[in-house]
Subunit: 226 residues, 2 copies
DNA sequence: CGTGTCGAAGTTGAATTCATAATTACCGAC
DNA sequence: GTCGGTAATTATGAATTCAACTTCGACACG
């Protein structure tokens, strides 16, 4: 067996020394989102730990974190599996995202500072330029939504939405905007910015709600199972 | 056909094969809710593990679960502390509960079966009899709310509300209904049942919203810090 | 030939051990 | 006497070891 080398030999201790199990958790998330670990597949903690060059302890701790996030399921003495999202799960999560984010939009319309709106505007402008780059569009889109949540300023809601968005990524079709939907989504964002700048909470909330309804319809269309 | 009876010779019936770390997590929750472990106090995992008669491994796993639930906070190399709820946290969580549970009430009004409504009615009746027993009232009240969520049938929302209600219990004043509030709360539940039986989603949602607004006002009054 | 039981292999759950970072206590210098 | 630095102590993070359960397969018996 090869000795587990320490690759961080010359690295000065960074100001944010995250725990090993957190790094492992993040790496696991990426592997799940990228489908390297497929939904439904079993996770052999021994094999994975060896692959990562760590012991089983931090691997197990990381898996427990993912389990409470809903990305994996654990059964006593039965091992660990990557979670699966049914079409109905997708519908349910969309409904919650619509509910929570429309409420956030309402609060932002009521209480955002000029700088807050400026940061949203900036993300919106970047989004406009990325209509033809699916991956980049997806990333910026998520940044916009999380920025809105951050401005609204309810840390519990931010945490909840962040977790829900994670499990949404289990769904293969979620990130696959088709062309038409991207342009449409962009228009809805524009309308939202308009409502926010006019300080119209009701309109802002309504726009976000329909934004998610349309997003669900688009995703459902791809699943062929509504 | 041999009896699948397991001769549990001298061993306590482990018909509940829950993982040790889960039992530990539950015990920790109870200690936190009962204020044996006070908000803000440090948790010495070694001492607690010894106290429980277990090793540090399941204790650490349990603490990680509680951390993701928001009941404790963990800092790298700095140990673990019982979480604290500020007055603002209480407000934020109340807002989310109002949002999520009013939405659930809407769905229940739209789609509940007669049996669903009957089970709610039963809890409501029990509640009526417990106006003078604070603790029992509190328990049944929670059962009623969770029953509503269960009927609404969105497992993500149920999980979220369950977790939010856990952190609410960190707040000392939450469970302390004063007399007037208990009667008032009861009346609101009655109104909700009425709206549900009349299949009026809008009214049901509105009633739940105001139910939480009044609950927040009552709690805030006790905190003396609005 | 099918069913059921016993057993071996392998994986998970928990305990123990080891290493390292943080805290504290102590000592010396200013 | 106080401040600062260094060493000792202690608690946490991670690895390793140990134990128990699950699963799979072979063999015996009906």
């Amino acid at each position: 067996m090869s000795a587990p080398e320490k690759p961080s030999a010359g690295r000065p201790p960074s100001l944010a020394p995250r725990a090993l199990y957190e790094q492992v958790a993040e790496r696991l998330r990426q592997q799940i989102f990228s489908r390297e670990l497929e939904p439904g597949s079993r996770i052999d903690e021994q094999k994975l730990a060896e692959e990562y060059g760590i012991s089983r302890t931090p691997m197990r701790e990381a898996l427990k974190v993912l389990a409470t996030e809903g990305l994996v399921t654990m059964q006593m003495r039965r091992g660990c599996h990557v979670a699966e999202m049914s079409a109905d799960d997708v519908r349910q999560v969309y409904r919650l995202l619509a509910l929570l984010e429309s409420d956030a939009a309402m609060e932002v319309a009521e209480r955002a500072t000029e700088e807050d709106l400026a940061s949203l505007r900036q993300l919106q402008e970047r989004l406009e330029k990325q209509v033809r780059q699916r991956d980049a569009f997806f990333v910026t889109n998520e940044q916009f939504h999380l920025r809105l949540l951050t401005i609204a300023g309810n840390r519990w809601r931010l945490q909840i939405v962040t977790d829900l968005r994670k499990v949404m990524k289990l769904n293969r079709h979620h990130s696959l905007f088709h062309k038409g939907r991207m342009a449409e989504s962009l228009a809805e964002h524009r309308a939202l910015m308009e409502a926010l700048e006019q300080r119209d909470p009701v309109a802002a909330a309504a726009i976000v709600r329909t934004h998610f309804e349309k997003g669900l319809a688009a995703a459902a269309g791809m699943i062929h199972d509504v």
